[in-house]
């Protein structure tokens, strides 16, 4: 809340410049003169009350209320009685159960001692964090608070890697919905970025039928995710789906996508990639088309290879856009539910159960407290990942700019 908005009482003269976007030039006072009928409301305080507060309250109500209500819900247990609903305070029980209790095997996964590769990863991550922190200390750019914060972030990262290797690089370990979600997000976005960029580079060429292909490539984006889920349900059905003759002809009569956890996750990632690559494609296509071709042509004339011109001219130019797309897809990707739910119901076992699906199952069985707790942990995870991504991406983007 801005202090200007919080103040009331005596009339305050508002400088319109205060309301402009950061870095924008201060507006002139012309608009005020343009509305002389507001003379009666010469007091800016009253005008502020009248025009700003309803909007502020509306937005706060829409955004803050769910945020606060879901915290309350995640700390309580819901029961029905005649004439209403009882919310009983249970403290951090829901979180405790997810992170350390009965639900840990579903949320974090089954954690077992790491194998040699796992240990190598842990040691490497400790080394990396140690190096980064030492570098931060030596640079002298950060105060005690900044250094403490960085130390904390480093320890948290190593802790996360420790959980990850216990689930993924160990004998008998198994990832839970948190790690499965991260796999979906990072594998999916990586593929979407590569394919989207590839298609955009192709579509920007002067090839025949390019307009036709541009339209075709965008179609998946226009289909509802539930529809895509059902489509892939049919395509991956090897016993009676439309592709059954193909599988039989290939001698893969007994092949199935859905009994092996990694094949099942791959099926989800393929479906998600099919749906979202067009989004990356269309934005990158716009970025590529807006590039100044002369620079690239000049480079080619000067003897640069195609790869060099892509690496040093095209890539830096589209980096800011790419960063934005990845950020949007990151935030969107964490909410993945349709594909794993429709395609596999989160199975086989819990192999494709994403965090949102876990929250949905809890919500569906009226375990609203735990559902809210899962949703909140998802919010924290997304905030951390998005913030880290933005901080990491900021430097290269700024350098380009």
């Amino acid at each position: 809340m801005s202090p200007a908005l919080a103040s009331n009482g005596s009339p305050i003269t508002l400088d319109p410049g205060e309301l402009t976007a950061e870095g924008g030039a201060p507006r002139t006072r012309e608009p005020r003169r343009a509305i002389p009928s507001l003379g009666a409301l010469r007091s800016d305080g009253a005008a502020r009350w009248l025009f700003i507060w309803p909007t502020v309250l509306f937005i706060l109500g829409l955004s803050l209320f769910p945020l606060v209500a879901s915290v309350a819900l995640s700390l309580s247990k819901l029961t029905f009685r005649k004439g209403g609903i009882d919310l009983t305070w249970v403290g951090f029980n829901n979180y405790q159960s997810l992170l350390f209790g009965l639900e840990r095997s579903h949320f974090l996964g089954v954690l077992k001692p790491p194998n040699p590769i796992g240990w190598a990863v842990v040691i490497a991550s400790i080394g990396l964090m140690g190096w980064a922190w030492t570098r931060a200390v030596r640079s002298g750019r950060y105060g005690p608070f900044g250094l403490a914060l960085r130390l904390f972030a480093g320890v948290a990262f190593v802790g996360f890697v420790w959980v990850l290797v216990q689930a993924m690089a160990s004998e008998g370990g198994r990832p839970g919905s948190l790690i499965v979600t991260l796999i979906f997000v990072f594998a999916g976005i990586g593929l979407q970025l590569l394919l989207g960029l590839g298609l955009a580079l192709l579509a920007v060429q002067q090839v025949p039928w390019r307009r036709f292909f541009r339209v075709v490539f965008i179609i998946p984006l226009t289909i509802t995710p539930v529809g895509v889920g059902y489509m892939f349900l049919m395509l991956t059905d090897t016993s009676k789906g439309p592709l059954e003759p193909v599988w039989v002809a290939l001698g893969l009569r007994d092949f199935t996508w859905v009994t092996d956890p990694w094949l099942a996750r791959a099926a989800v990632i393929i479906g998600d990639t099919w749906q979202w690559t067009p989004f990356v494609f269309i934005v990158l296509l716009a970025a590529l088309e807006s590039l100044d071709q002369e620079v690239r042509e000049a480079a080619l004339t000067d003897g640069a290879s195609r790869w060099q011109s892509f690496r040093h001219i095209t890539m830096p130019a589209i980096l800011p856009v790419t960063t934005t797309i990845v950020l949007i897809r990151l935030i969107e990707g964490f909410k993945i539910i349709d594909m794993p739910n429709i395609l596999l119901g989160g199975g086989p076992g819990t192999a494709t159960q994403s965090m949102t699906l876990q929250a949905y199952i809890d919500w569906n069985t009226l375990n609203l407290g735990r559902s809210a707790a899962v949703a909140y942990l998802l919010l924290i995870l997304v905030t951390i990942v998005a913030t880290v991504f933005v901080s990491l991406a900021r430097r290269p983007v700024t350098e380009v700019a």
Partner: protein
């Protein structure tokens, strides 16, 4: 950096909002209910049934508008919508059927009643939810009405549905419109040709499944499957495992209960030899099934059975009404869900042989326990609705369940309703009218009769938090076992721990009392 700092909380807010949106709008796979037959299944159009004389009472409910909440199948809502004008003509009342998604009914009905909105005068829903609805007193006690209603003919309804499914703690709260229980279907043509008897025990089932697996069963030159039983997570798997385990867990009649020990609330689907055997049998059926059975719900197995690709399958009554017009027409036999020669000794957790003491209801030494999973769509009246609406809603539900009306509706695949009255399997004509041959109808109705008359039928769980016990804990553990994430002991431990946690959270004494009440046991 400051701009990025301001971005993070904004992202957070957006996510919470988006998160809320995602959970409320996402689709539900669990919506594949017993009634959700594939759309290909269309039976012949219903004959317009003349109103029963008992219902002809002129303008008894003139000007009364009744709002009924139900499932938008399109089955389940279909007969209510189709029959409403007839009832309106008879009584002068008006019925407004509000049909919503499967998962939404429960929440909508519960919130409607608990918040006192009372937008609905009646619900046609799952009787498994009685525990959540009768506890706070949301439903009207119908005991006196059903016993004094000539239109309804209460005594014609199967004893199990009358005394257990519609009853909670000794009082009648629902009017059955549908009878849901599992049966095993087999390819009568090939079994008869080879002189193989339909499976009586689950061991027989596995033997027959092994015999036919890999053979061409529908003449297309491709190898087919010995058994098709759905195993997808988030679908119906938790019901099939209860069906297989039922005969091992419950020996002394419905009131014995198959879910918890009625003396101490210990989970029976937990750490004991019966559960191990049931899990192993369920997993073993996959050896004779399609390669992607692990990801198949009941819609998938129905499609395979009706196209002649499976020798055996387990289902609700639906396959019987789906076969007309398919490859499996007149090639399908039905039999009571197979049983076991052993039963669980609850004191020791070991399996003991069936005898007159341990399995008093056994037939030829086999303890059958047909599982009334889900229980069948049933009508209940809102206790807080105005008296006029209550009377009209009750009358409409009674009209829908009356022998003449329901006798036709249960023969039609499009209604999603299965037989539940004695008259339903005594009168064969509506069945042959619907497209079944006389032999097929007799066989199908024989299996239904054998199940309905069995005193050891398993009543589905109906205590508070049932959805969590079954759809969350049991479903997840069984799926993990089938996917080999857990071994049998691990799955049993997960079920027992998960169920005990819910029981303790709600209160062990309260849940035990509810379970005993749901079984109609008088103490």
């Amino acid at each position: 950096m400051s701009r990025f700092r301001t971005v993070a909380p904004a992202i957070g807010l957006v996510l919470v909002l988006a998160g809320c949106g995602t959970t409320t709008t996402s689709p539900s796979t669990a919506a594949s209910t017993p009634a959700s037959a594939p759309p290909a299944a269309t039976a012949s159009a219903p004959g317009s049934v003349a109103p029963t004389p008992a219902a002809s009472q002129g303008d008894k409910f003139k000007g009364v508008n009744v709002n009924i909440l139900t499932f938008n199948g399109p089955q389940v809502a279909e007969p209510l919508q189709r029959r409403a004008p007839d009832w309106e003509q008879l009584t002068g009342g008006h019925v407004n059927v509000v049909a919503v998604g499967f998962q939404t009914i429960y929440d909508k009905a519960l919130l409607d009643a608990s918040t006192g909105t009372n937008a609905f005068d009646a619900y046609v829903f799952n009787p498994q939810w009685l525990g959540d609805f009768t506890g706070p007193g949301y439903l009207m006690d119908l005991t006196d009405r059903v016993n004094n209603d000539p239109q309804l003919d209460w005594q014609d309804i199967g004893p199990f549905f009358r005394d257990f499914n519609a009853t909670y703690d000794g009082k009648v709260y629902t009017i059955p419109l549908d009878g849901d229980f599992h049966m095993v279907y087999y390819r009568s043509d090939i079994l008869e040709k080879d002189g193989v008897k339909p499976p009586a025990t689950w061991d027989d089932y596995l033997t027959i499944a092994a015999k036919y697996n890999g053979q061409d069963l529908n003449g297309d030159g491709q190898p087919d499957y010995g058994s098709c039983i759905a195993k997808k997570k988030g679908a119906q798997s938790y019901w099939w495992i209860i069906s297989i385990a039922g005969g091992l867990l419950q020996g002394k009649g419905t009131a014995d209960g198959a879910f918890f020990d009625t003396t101490n609330m210990n989970p029976l689907l937990g750490q004991n030899e019966a559960m191990t055997k049931a899990l192993e049998t369920y997993a073993k059926t996959a050896d004779f099934g399609p390669p992607d059975e692990l990801n198949m719900d009941v819609g998938g197995t129905r499609g395979l059975f009706t196209t002649g690709r499976c020798a055996l399958s387990m289902d609700w009554g639906d396959i019987g009404t789906l076969t007309p017009g398919t490859y499996a027409q007149d090639k399908t036999g039905a039999t009571i869900t197979p049983g076991w020669n052993q039963v669980l000794d609850r004191a020791t957790g070991k399996l003991v042989p069936c005898d007159a003491t341990t399995c008093p209801n056994a037939v030829d030494g086999v303890n059958y326990a047909p599982f009334a999973s889900f229980g069948g769509w049933s009508g209940a009246v809102n206790a807080a609705a105005p008296k006029e609406q209550q009377d009209a809603a009750y009358d409409f539900l009674s009209y829908m369940s009356s022998p003449a009306i329901s006798g036709v509706d249960v023969t039609l695949g499009k209604t999603g309703y299965n037989p539940y009255r004695t008259s339903h399997f005594e009168n064969i004509k509506p069945w042959t009218d619907a497209g079944l041959s006389e032999a097929a109808a007799t066989n199908y109705l024989g299996a239904i009769k054998a199940s309905l008359q069995n005193k050891n039928m398993v009543l589905d769980m109906r205590i508070p938090q049932t959805k969590r016990y079954e759809q969350d804990v049991l479903d997840t553990a069984v799926s993990q076992y089938l996917a080999k994430e857990l071994d049998a002991a691990g799955a049993e431990q997960a079920i027992a721990d998960g169920w005990n946690a819910i029981t303790d959270e709600v209160g062990k004494d309260k849940q035990l009392a509810a379970y005993v009440a749901s079984l109609g046991v008088q103490r």
